[in-house]
Subunit: 330 residues, 2 copies
């Protein structure tokens, strides 16, 4: 019998289709390990090609003055930092506003093939603390309401560039999708006096069968209502509503656990394409009780189709408990 | 300057990224026309392989007794028609219910390569009236709340079977995603006394630049806040909240316009993979003023990535007006 499961944080339903259930291993065959060179002549992010990106926003440099991390505006920015306020141009039926915002790329390393999961924890810390610095810097601009950090890895995950990089988008609006999630989290808090994510952590630690790993102040789970095989969440044990509020020690723990999860994907899942996104409360909701920043990872091992697009209900063919067990043991 | 546009029916925002804007033609090169045989020995939907599907639910037969359309249960059903009510098994924090529902496949034709867009209007009518019959039949079962008809075409759209087929899923729940959309449509009706989709039709007919085609009682548009290049909507001019309420004449018009739109995709877009979904009000909301059934088509020419997954905001690199002009002229 298939199961319909509800995500306790968002109230979204997922169908866990046991009738067409697959063993976690079946997805691993689909992927091939990636092998890339240390340097690519054609890559705009490799050293020596700095003129192929817009002027640097910030960088870390080694003792010889060579960059180790670079932050640049996205050359094909979805939003642009011009204009100083958001006004609807048009109060007609169809509403639009200028595409004001900031869209940056974090070039994580000069090495074309030194991706998270294959690097030391010190290097991982350098990358993740750059996320944190950029978040903190952008969050001081009160025109921005939401700061989204994400990482697309592999062509099937929507990236055209192989060189390890992440992106950060600061938007002047809080999207409807995020609003709905904040509302659900607020409702849970109003009903119970608890943060729904703190409650998820507590419940997962009691049940244990969806835990992939724990340590460094973080817990890694396959969520109860995972939308797709190997959807993975990383949650900080410490309650903080926004990513910007994490302490330096927490950022250190986050870097180590992220590096471990990525290494797990490389080894246990044969290096699949995936998307990562840091989910955080809006910048002006720091210190709130009801939301709790966390990270979602979506390995791209299946294709959402018409049913998912039309209803928002995902059909998952792998039990989250089986996926967690596979990841723990492999 | 990029534009942030709001979908008037759902209030969802889309970024139209003019900084990375592409001409509609650029997407066409990505696709290759499909060429398939009339019959495939390996295909479970081709004639002679009827034993490879579960027992037939219904079929149309020609004068020699050969089937022309077959409806069968999905062999890998996401939901199963066992159990006569929905009860939450567990009132714990994590909620689930049995995966009760019905999941059918409509095998549209005995010919392996006779897909909509390449067939006569009579044949298209046979297929679409089968959609309608199955909808009407399933909607009489009061345990089902929402009936979703969809069609995945091409591997990139999530189908593993090439043989022309559609699917129908009857669910005992109205998913959150649909609920939110019904709420927005209701709010528009409360504010204005109008159906938001009737208003979209009126506005599009006035502005004209997003219309792809019109006729047979339907209008085909590239929506104002299209999420991806060539997202296309087909709307009936006649207000009906559910697909089941369409008259036989309306189903005839729908078949003709659907066949024309699919033919347009084959010719102008070089036969891309796409998903189609019929969006309708829940079965128990027949005759409502605020919702209006319609069809959405999503050619799979781009890949949603981390930003889309994390925020629900899509970045579209083609102006809907340019896409509509391209489709009108090609």
């Amino acid at each position: 019998m298939p199961e319909i499961r509800q995500n306790p944080a968002t109230k979204e339903w997922v169908i866990v289709a046991t009738e067409r259930a697959k063993r976690p291993e079946e997805f691993v065959k689909l992927a091939k390990p990636r092998h890339s060179p240390r340097f690519s002549k054609k890559c705009p992010f490799c050293p020596g090609h700095e003129d192929q990106t817009p002027p640097e926003i910030s960088s870390n440099r080694d003792e010889h003055g060579a960059w180790t991390v670079r932050v640049v505006p996205n050359r094909f920015a979805a939003l642009v930092p011009e204009g100083d306020s958001i006004r609807e141009e048009d109060f007609d039926f169809f509403r639009k506003m200028p595409g004001f915002g900031q869209h940056e790329v974090i070039i994580e390393t000069p090495l074309h093939n030194a991706s998270l999961g294959r690097i030391g924890d010190d290097k991982a810390f350098e990358i993740v603390s750059t996320y944190h610095e950029r978040y903190r810097c952008l969050s001081r601009d009160k025109r921005f309401k939401l700061i989204t950090i994400f990482r697309n890895y592999g062509r099937e995950a929507g990236t055209s560039l192989e060189h390890p990089h992440s992106q950060i988008v600061a938007t002047p609006i809080v999207p409807l999708h995020i609003r709905h999630r904040l509302e659900e989290a607020t409702r849970f808090f109003d009903d119970t006096g608890e943060c729904v994510f703190c409650r998820i952590i507590e419940s997962e630690r009691k049940e244990r069968d969806r835990i992939v790993m724990e340590g460094d102040g973080f817990i890694v789970i396959e969520p109860f209502a995972a939308r797709s095989p190997f959807e993975t969440w990383i949650l900080p044990l410490e309650h903080r509503s926004t990513f910007g509020e994490a302490t330096l020690a927490e950022i250190g723990g986050f870097a180590r656990i992220l590096n471990r999860v990525f290494a797990k994907f490389v080894h246990a899942l044969q290096d699949p394409a995936f998307n990562m996104v840091i989910q955080t409360a809006p910048t002006n909701e720091e210190g709130e009780d009801y939301y709790h920043w966390h990270v979602k990872l979506f390995p791209r091992v299946t294709t959402p189709a018409g049913f998912e697009l039309g209803t928002g209900v995902y059909i998952n063919t792998v039990l989250p408990e089986a996926a967690a067990e596979y990841l723990r043991k492999t």
